[in-house]
Point group: C2
Chain length 152, copies 2
């Protein structure tokens, strides 16, 4: 996604108003690699603006998604996750234990569907979700660390 300054420009040029709340959300998302949920974005933004509402966060996330600056993901963790990385094509690693999501920047060009197996579907895209255990959730024997459940 673009920088907070560029997003300010983009919002204005697409007829959207620029508010302190929105700019705060731009800053929170910029450089975030954790694929935060709306609540996670709200939690961080609240540290800067105590009164910002969750609804405003959802609204702005949807605007950004509409503009193609972020993408919303459903990886089965119960909440929609938002991904500011829209430039490199990539897939995702999801922790079964704590729900952490990380990018897997690898292309699998050989993902060809065998002829006839599409059953008439017109296939447009393929998403791969790798499930497993993140470093923090692996048994201590392997990392020496203690697993910690991530709060929301």
């Amino acid at each position: 996604m673009k920088t907070p300054e560029e997003l300010t420009e983009l919002f204005r040029s697409t007829g959207r108003k620029v508010t302190a709340q929105r700019q705060c959300i731009f800053r929170v998302l910029h450089g975030d690699v954790t694929h935060p949920s709306a609540e996670a974005v709200h939690a961080v933004a609240s540290r800067e603006m105590e009164t910002i509402s969750l609804k405003t966060v959802y609204q702005t996330l949807h605007d950004l998604a509409e503009l193609g600056e972020i993408v919303s993901l459903d990886v089965g963790t119960g909440m929609t996750r938002f991904d500011p990385n829209v430039d490199d094509p990539h897939h995702h690693l999801v922790c079964r234990e704590c729900g952490r999501v990380r990018d897997l920047v690898a292309v699998f060009p050989e993902l060809q569907i065998p002829k006839g197996a599409e059953l008439g579907f017109q296939v447009g895209s393929a998403e791969i979700v790798f499930r497993g255990l993140c470093p923090e959730c692996q048994p201590a024997t392997r990392t020496g660390r203690v697993p910690a459940r991530a709060g929301k």
Copy 2:
């Protein structure tokens, strides 16, 4: 998944009671290839037993999942989908328009993660979701059919 008769046996042998409602759900699921939601199962079961409750359907689906006879899927259609096909490893085609889910019975053995790209994740499984348009939702020029939004 097993036949309704075998499931009856399995339920009894694992200390679960067998009721008419559960056997009705066994029959509904047997041979179903649509990856129904709990509500869809309930709708079909209700045709046979008008009073069966949605809660009972959820309960039985969870029992079957616990026994490994079905698997629950989250493919981003808003509802958990249940898959009685647990024997062939396969992936899924999901219609962006109506939410239909179909099996794609193809193995992709070359799904190797580049060294170092796992970022310390201990990867256990990979699911591929192919998104596109099912035959019923494609423009008429391609199939001659009229797209229809599927009810839930």
